[in-house]
Symmetry: C3
Subunit: 369 residues, 3 copies
């Protein structure tokens, strides 16, 4: 929810909304789009891709039975938030329109009658201010408020790994779950992260996040019982996620663990949407770091443990030459727990089968832990 | 203030001071200078630059009305501390003398009658022990004490971004504000960070810091009311600064925000003088990382979010090809707050005007937040 | 100790142990070894090196008189834990066998009657699951339990800096002290970290660690008084070590400080076995970063302050051209303390003598602090 100054702003926001109504929101959208049309036309040689996102709340089930209130994006207006939100995957040259339809703002309660509003910041895409999703620089200087919709438009230029997140009350809204992966594949090279980087057989995206469950509770209480907002500087996360799951749930899902055959090459896109550094370690394999933040590295390097700061992304290549099962986990060991209980949190598995589908390590023995 | 062993050391310090008086402080300074004179003469081909710094206390005004006691350097003996201290900008080949005149030590109180003393560590300059500012290795094995002065001497060798800070009771004195930027420009290339790196039109230095206001209070109480020192391992910062300012003050100052015309290239020198990692993200632009810690990178790379550990420095180049206003901020979102209230802390703006001075985003809408 | 689910698992573990006894542990070991024998034979051209490690407890003496309970590896079955454990130094091409003999498990108490068991994860060696030391993927899906022994086998392939640690209840067992350095020297190049990297005159290995003494106490109480386990997400370290020592003990030991003659080149292998980022700064010198995680960097770079995330390793080269004494320390200043008292923790010295053995800085003045 908005900070203490929220109450004072209600009058101001109402005035702005009235002003927008008189100008016409459609007019603003049109002018934004037109201003970049010349540039776009040069770069656009792909498909037109349209996405619509909504904002909803949800309850995250923890392995130990805890439930954590959260909110985030979804592409299903009748569903709950997906955390992370739907992955947006496009190809270089595509013309992309992402509409944020704030038709049921989960931050709108009797204690916060206007709701906070939301935006989509396309992190790493380098777009004009009007498309940037920062409410300060957005048309009108505010977020997309309850009852409004706004279309973020871009032509996909640089292949790479990006992400999107809300920038309204960002310390709160990102923590609460408003993020998702945004992938741009290179034109004519769907099995490479960038032109001239290694070809891969399989591809995974791991969204790394951390949450402070006490702050989620405080936030909920603030919105539904009129309490005060969390003090974000006291942030101390107790749950740690890969694609919104904690171990062991991570390794039960074929998209949140790596599953391949010996001899295959795998690309993993690592996205840290959390607020602390995560140090990703792979057992069994070193990996080659080939790119970061949507740009190919001129000097790729090998690591077995990679520190990833908040909001950074890295593309890594694993050549899986050794059958078996291998952990992939954060080496800040306190983050391999579910609220302090090890093992848990930011752990998953790299499962490498023999060509006949067998594996030297029975999957069932992993379930004993 | 000095730790618990301070009381026991008073006798020892008095003996050392007496010894120094008999040897003559000037004699020590002279011998330090002479011992490096042969090397210096080879490298010195620039100007002689003399600086004098004093140590003073101050009260930092927070946007929410809080005041935080602090102390730091100043070049004005009649003024308060400047936090960060005055930027020292010299050119490769210059002969530089920086005198620390400890004529009014703000750590000298009835509960700490000798004061702590202070030094200047020229972080990254690789100087002989006597010029290094570590009190352990300084002449006599102690800091520059109340009533003393000491001249740090060097010939500027490698261009780059450095910083200076006190190394006496460093966990305390750096936290309290004793730091400043130190820039060495390349000879004959004032618009490049290093020879053979991109030329820039404008240049900014952003000193990134973090403070724990409760520890500042404890420190003040220790010195003025006789309480015990903070336990630095409990460090949990609640204020986050660019050049000593928190948002929105950062974006009100033309030196603490980026202000340029579309088409210009900007160099930003990032210096993390804080105790935690800061992950600097730029909206609107990727940047090229061209150097770190006073050395050009052989393999520069592009990022939109850069993790900067304590005491690291990075030079980044932004090519501003897109008019508008764009955030530059820490993506550890809890640090984009003033004591927990978002937005605040380590946020500033990149303002890129059209050639006619206009900007697609009215500045006044940024002030509404 | 194992987490809350430990009690429930006792029956399961007993069943597994019985199963293992019937299959024969020796048989499992034999098959593991055989499965890699073809690969090994190609690479093995060195010596056969056999090591045996045991697990024991110890009390770590802090400079301020505090004692901290801990446990770790030792090569002396009649001694206490060594923290860090014995360095294992082998040469590329060596055939290495490391037997973990869990004959006196320090986690076995009346409140934890089976003990936790232990493993050796050879971090960075990329071994088959059976040799990986992850209890989930180890034969039988469990650690080496009290009364068992297990031999980890590998042929040393890539020169570089690695480490080993327990992976059973890893958040606890690593924190408690179960780690050590593992060095692979290149064949025919004992004075280089990797082929084609600078030759060095002297070599040091600095194992960087951090400990939360309150959690050590909680852990001890859990094992010996039946209390509950620490919640690892509340981790807040108060002691910081280089090779298991805190300053000033670090600088008293010739292996935990750098001691060389002007003109010499020194290799330092930095291993972060802790749970937080450490930012290592050298006074007096920049250093060249030549490798990380057991792989040479194609684009080495110079730094004076290097952020090292959990479990990362870096090889750095210092050319010591300046006599004197210079600090090497973490620049997260709160970590240069012993439980909050500065100076302490992760600080040591680089001592560079003149060719005649003299030093411009008397060692005794360092002792005054």
């Amino acid at each position: 929810m908005l900070q203490n100054s929220r109450a004072k702003k209600v009058a101001g926001i109402i005035l702005i909304i009235l002003a927008l109504l008189s100008v016409g929101l459609a007019g603003i959208l049109l002018s934004n789009t037109l201003s970049n049309s010349a540039v776009d036309a040069q770069q656009a040689n792909g498909q037109v891709r349209n996405f619509t996102l909504y904002v909803r709340s949800t309850w995250i089930n923890m392995p130990n039975g805890t439930k954590m209130w959260a909110f985030g994006y979804t592409d299903n207006p009748n569903g709950q938030a997906k955390i992370p939100g739907p992955s947006i995957v496009v190809t270089q040259g595509d013309t992309v329109n992402i509409t944020l339809n704030d038709n049921k703002d989960p931050t709108r309660t009797q204690f916060n009658p206007d709701g906070d509003g939301h935006t989509i910041h396309l992190h790493g895409l380098d777009l004009p201010s009007a498309m940037d999703g920062d409410p300060m620089t957005a048309p009108g200087g505010h977020a997309v408020m309850q009852g409004q919709a706004y279309t973020y438009h871009f032509v996909a230029k640089y292949p790479g790994t990006y992400w999107y997140h809300c920038h309204q009350s960002a310390a709160e809204h990102i923590q609460m779950g408003m993020y998702g992966a945004l992938i741009i594949r290179p034109a004519n090279a769907s099995n490479q992260a960038y032109p001239d980087t290694p070809t891969f057989d399989k591809e995974y995206t791991f969204v790394l996040s951390d949450m402070d469950s006490a702050m989620h509770q405080t936030d909920y209480d603030g919105l539904y019982k009129g309490g005060s907002d969390p003090n974000w500087t006291k942030y101390q996360p107790d749950y740690f996620f890969i694609n919104g799951k904690t171990w062991p749930d991570t390794m039960m899902d074929p998209e949140d663990s790596i599953n391949a055959t010996v001899g295959q090459t795998v690309l993993v896109r690592l996205i840290n949407v959390g607020y602390v550094v995560h140090a990703i370690h792979t057992h069994g394999y070193h990996f080659q770091v080939i790119g970061s933040d949507g740009r190919k590295l001129d000097a790729p390097y090998y690591k077995d443990t990679l520190s990833i700061g908040p909001a950074e992304r890295y593309e890594i290549i694993l050549k899986l030459d050794l059958a078996g099962r291998y952990m992939l986990h954060d080496h800040a060991e306190q983050m391999n727990t579910n609220n302090g209980e090890y093992p848990g949190g930011m752990i998953t598995m790299i499962n490498v089968n023999n060509p006949d589908g067998s594996n030297p390590v029975p999957m069932k023995q992993l379930m004993q832990r």
